[in-house]
Amino acid sequence: MNVSNRRIAIIGFFWVCSILLSYGYIIYYHQVEGSSDRSARDWPLNANLSLDSQKPTMVLAVHPKCPCTVATCRELARLLLRAHRPVKIYALVFTPSPNPDGEEWFNSPTMSDLKRVPLLEMIKDENGELAQSFGMSTSGDIRLYSSNRHLLFAGGITASRAHEGECAATDKLFSRIRGESSQYFEYPVFGCPITETDE
């Protein structure tokens, strides 16, 4: 077909520009941090959960429908298998109240992957109130506390939204679970907001 070089060049130019813009936006979207209040550096006194006095305690905020949290669950499972250390883990599963879907609310790929995380205790968190008491309002947010109540780690363990793979956060969390470091470390969290007020 007789198509001029000029037409192809023009189309190609717009093609490149449109892809760059679209792709750039997608990358930006995946890098938008979720909100997370890390001002409190100790186990909250009003938390309705018990801190383990023998080993580190981890609290994980989960929105059961958030697809991005699948990556967090898989990374966490891999990390715990490597760490070979006991950890008390609470998964605070956001539950709307009232819950019109009943048990169907918890039927999702995210929940399937969450159940594969070892040592994990699932707790239904009505309207995310329990998670908010720990300053967590984004699905995938993690808090790791030492047995003496100090906050060791706060944030997510994925490099971007819904992106599996090791990153700086997984290394830091790993070292703190194994007791190799007790220095506080925080990292951005990427996931769906748990509460509507956090849009």
Partner: protein
């Protein structure tokens, strides 16, 4: 005719490969676009804020960005198939598709294999530069994201910064072996192109030689026929002279001259027929033919030669035979040849010419049957070969140069039919020629009329 050079032949093959691979990627882009949407629907259809949901950005990315990525290479494959810019755009788009699918699948490690699979597909072009474009696109993707969002690049800021180098190493590893394979394949293509050109040149030379040979044969046949006709004619005139008639010796000599002339003329005609058959220039004149009249004419011509060895000549023609379309002269020549052979190889026996209709395939079967010396299986294998006589003992006893049956079979095929033979040693032989009744659109309306024997 201009025989192409090896380089032009190679370029032609390359172009075919480029266009064929372009079409392969055309289908692949459609497939990947659909797969991207399915992945987004399955993995991340919605994003949530509390109890409220909305369509996930990934779904828009799969549909819109997926379309954007695929549109330009698909457009180029349609308008510029096989061009250099097309396959480089295809390479770039394929790598962008890999990046998109990795995003849509949530960065699954398994999805990264799409990159390696894509490089292997791009190697189908057998152009190493295309792999370069693909690798550059991957590199730019990692570089830009590394600059803007270093955390998003796998391995950066991790405890093992060499993971990024490991990724690059695997890509380079695959590219190295693909480039080696491309180079070897290209060399093989060049060798094949050279062989193809050499073969075409040989065929061309042979064709030219054959053409010269055919022209030579045609002209020599004419040059030979003219004096032979004179020899035959004058020998016949001479045989009628009273002086010749009175002397047995002289009459015998003149007869020998006449027979030799006719034999030579027959040989020249046969050689000319072979030449026309080989060159595809044998002329045929298809027309309506009455089988009864044909058989009658053949019988009159061949009866003397068939019965000369004490043979009984029988003609059996099915009563309800209708006219059919054929080249009467060629069919007559074939049947005369077969009857001549039958009379030659049979003594004090029976030679039968039978004509029947085969309604199953709408053909007429002409059968020439004798109760003569017959043939073995080995002899039947070679009787249709040119200039082959059955064996030395036969050739010493029976004259002929061994091309009559070859010509007869070729003519049978040219008439749209076939020739078959069955034989048993010392029991006889049967040749069957089948010709289609209506092998031509020129069959006249009075096909149903039977021709009376005149």
């Amino acid at each position: 005719m201009n025989v192409p050079t090896a380089e032009s032949q190679f370029k032609l093959q390359q172009q075919e490969i480029y266009e064929r691979t372009d079409n392969l990627f055309l289908k692949l882009f459609y497939l990947q676009w659909a797969a991207g949407i399915l992945i987004a629907l399955f993995v991340s259809p919605h994003t949530w804020i509390g109890a409220s949901k909305s369509l996930h950005l990934n779904l828009y990315a799969a549909g819109i960005l997926g379309s954007l990525i695929s549109f330009f290479p698909v457009y180029l494959v349609h308008v510029w198939p096989g061009r250099t810019v097309t396959r480089h755009v295809v390479a770039a788009a394929q790598m962008l598709t890999s990046a998109l699918l990795i995003h849509l699948s949530g960065g699954r490690i398994e999805t990264h294999f799409h990159v390696f699979g894509s490089l292997a597909f791009l190697a189908f072009y057998r152009d190493w530069r295309v792999l370069g474009t693909a690798t550059v696109v991957i590199g730019i993707d990692h570089l830009v994201r590394g600059l803007l969002y270093p955390e998003s690049v796998f391995g950066v800021f991790s405890a093992s910064p060499y993971r990024a180098l490991e990724h690059a190493a695997w890509v380079i590893f695959e590219n190295t072996f693909l480039c080696i394979a491309i180079r070897q394949s290209t060399q093989e293509m060049r060798r094949m192109a050279q062989q193809t050109v050499d073969l075409e040149q040989t065929v061309f030379d042979l064709g030219a030689a054959t053409s010269h040979q055919q022209v030579f044969i045609a002209s020599m046949s004419h040059e030979l026929r003219t004096p032979l006709t004179a020899i035959i004619g004058y020998s016949e005139l001479l045989s009628e002279a009273p002086e010749i008639q009175e002397s047995d010796t002289m009459r015998s000599d003149v007869d020998r001259v006449n027979r030799s002339g006719k034999h030579l003329l027959e040989l020249v005609d046969s050689i000319l027929d072979i030449s026309k058959i080989d060159s595809g220039r044998a002329e045929f004149n298809f027309d309506c033919c009455c089988p009864h009249r044909l058989v009658h004419d053949i019988g009159q011509v061949t009866r003397p030669m068939v019965t000369r060895n004490g043979n009984d000549f029988q003609v059996q023609v099915q009563d309800d035979l209708e006219s059919f379309i054929t080249d009467r002269d060629k069919l007559k020549q074939v049947l005369v040849q077969l009857l001549s052979n039958a009379g030659k190889f049979c003594e004090n026996g029976t030679v039968t010419l039978e004509v029947v209709k085969d309604p199953s395939d709408d053909t007429l079967a002409f059968k020439v049957r004798d109760t003569g010396i017959g043939m073995s299986e080995q002899q039947m294998d070679v009787i249709f070969d040119r200039f082959v006589k059955i064996d030395d003992s036969v050739s010493r006893k029976f004259d002929g140069v061994g091309i009559g049956l070859y010509i007869a079979r070729e003519f049978s095929r040219a008439l749209g039919g076939s020739m078959a033979v069955e034989s048993q040693l010392n029991l006889g032989t049967e040749f069957t020629i089948k010709v289609p009744r209506a092998g031509s659109p020129f069959l006249p309306d009075d096909e149903g009329a039977s021709c009376p024997i005149g």
